[in-house]
């Protein structure tokens, strides 16, 4: 599992990283009038194996150490760079993803691409080494950021010793408060992320919490409460309200059955899928409702291997 996540992260980065984030800048350049003898010194002093050729701020070609060697062999050290360079350079755009450059390296037998901005101005140069270094740095940074944000939270369970430790989060939900609908679910989701829960578990809990929260907003007289109890090996959501209660729970569990009024349905709620969605996401689901008394919904999720215990970190 961990292996798969890691590969995906690198792939993600190749798409996420922009060429401008990994390219080398500023660029050492020469002009078409530079002599080959001067080019030799520029390459030697800067320890580089090629350089773009510019005229004003326009890119007109590229010259590499191979061109220099050919000129040396032919005794043409006084020749102009403009006569020995490769014109019609293939470039990459600074705002493109690194993946575009990777594709281009596979397509053309060259070691470097000049990088231009949207106006065709030369802003940097990109080699395979730049990409490797940029990716390694980004992986390191991302990994660090994730580790740091998870560290403090995820060690709660490992650092505090008891026979049974749980973290209890309570959220009040107001009736008909569509404006804040989903906020409790969103906060529970964030908490689980910080605790280091697996994304698949987070998704299931978030969906169930959202549906439970919207039920309180849509259907209850006075709103209600969502309590998330998080333990290293389980998450339990409990949603309670004090009415009106569900007349027939079995009917409410039928797909498409809803008692939501028309104005709420027009907003896209009341699809009659809420409780079903919750049951689908849960490992264990319990609902008890009494008319004019209220409803209690208990939703349990198992965390495989007690992954929140902090042992994996």
């Amino acid at each position: 599992m961990a292996e798969i996540t890691r590969i995906t992260r690198v792939q993600e980065l190749v798409y996420d990283l922009k060429i401008e984030q990994v390219m080398t800048k500023p660029v050492i350049t020469v002009t078409p009038d530079t002599r080959i003898s001067a080019l030799k010194e520029i390459l030697r002093i800067n320890r580089i194996s090629g350089t773009p050729v510019v005229e004003g701020d326009r890119l007109v070609g590229i010259i590499s150490i191979e061109d220099l060697i050919k000129a040396l062999e032919n005794g043409e050290m006084d020749a102009r760079v403009g006569d020995k360079m490769t014109p019609n350079v293939v470039t990459v755009y600074s705002h493109d993803s690194v993946i575009e450059a990777v594709k281009r390296f596979a397509q053309y037998p060259v070691g470097r691409f000049p990088v231009v901005d949207g106006h065709g101005r030369l802003v940097g140069i990109l080699t395979g080494g730049d990409i490797t270094r940029g990716l390694l740095e980004a992986i390191g940074l991302k990994w660090d950021a994730e580790e740091i944000s998870r560290y403090r939270a995820s060690h709660i369970f490992a650092d505090i010793v008891s026979d049974r430790t749980s973290l209890i989060l309570c959220y009040k939900v107001q009736p008909r408060d569509f404006e804040h609908g989903g906020e409790a679910a969103s906060k529970i989701k964030r908490a689980l992320y910080r605790l280091g829960a697996h994304p698949a578990i987070i998704r299931r809990v978030a969906i169930a919490a959202y549906e439970a929260e919207m039920n309180l907003i849509i259907h209850t007289d006075n709103g209600g409460e969502i309590v998330a109890e998080i333990r290293p090996e389980t998450v339990r959501l409990v949603a309670t309200d004090d009415g009106p209660g569900i007349a027939d729970v079995n009917l409410a569990m039928q797909p498409g059955y809803s008692t939501a009024p028309d104005w709420i349905r027009e907003l896209g709620f009341g699809a009659g899928m809420g409780l079903l969605n919750i049951r689908r996401c849960a490992d264990h689901f319990y609902i008890h409702s009494t008319l004019e008394v209220g409803t209690r919904l208990e939703i349990d999720f198992n965390i495989p291997g007690g992954a929140l215990a902090g042992s994996e970190a």
Binding site: A206, E211, F269
Partner: protein, 115 residues
């Protein structure tokens, strides 16, 4: 296809820009019923809908969708726009119908989530 390419190809109006215009759109889902979206849409999906109230943003954010395309120039509530920019949810608007948008997304190779 990336969000940026999608917006260009379908001439969508950007209501709130995506935090990452280069994010890959890995799939698509169309419905105006929020619970159905909850059940079927996944992280990185584009959601096509006529709904335009703030809870659309809540659903998109919870599911970590790539973005939401609101069709038929449905007026978008100010609260939804504000919430979308706060939560980093990309909202697009178009005069096209949901049917047409979906057809174009499908033609561009964006898959659906069918069992």
């Amino acid at each position: 296809m990336k969000l940026d390419d999608m917006a260009r190809r379908l001439s969508l109006q950007v209501v709130t820009p995506p935090p990452d215009p280069q994010r890959e759109v890995v799939g698509g889902y169309a419905s105006d019923l929020l619970s159905c979206v909850m059940a079927r849409a996944k992280a990185g999906y584009i959601w096509v809908t006529l709904q335009s109230h703030p809870n659309v943003v809540a659903v998109a954010s919870l599911l970590d969708l790539a973005g939401v395309i609101i069709t038929e120039d449905a007026p978008i509530e100010a609260g939804a726009v504000q919430k979308a920019s706060e939560e980093g949810v990309a909202l697009y608007s178009t005069p096209l119908t949901t049917y047409t948008v979906v057809a174009r997304l499908a033609a561009a190779g964006v898959p659906g989530n069918d069992p």
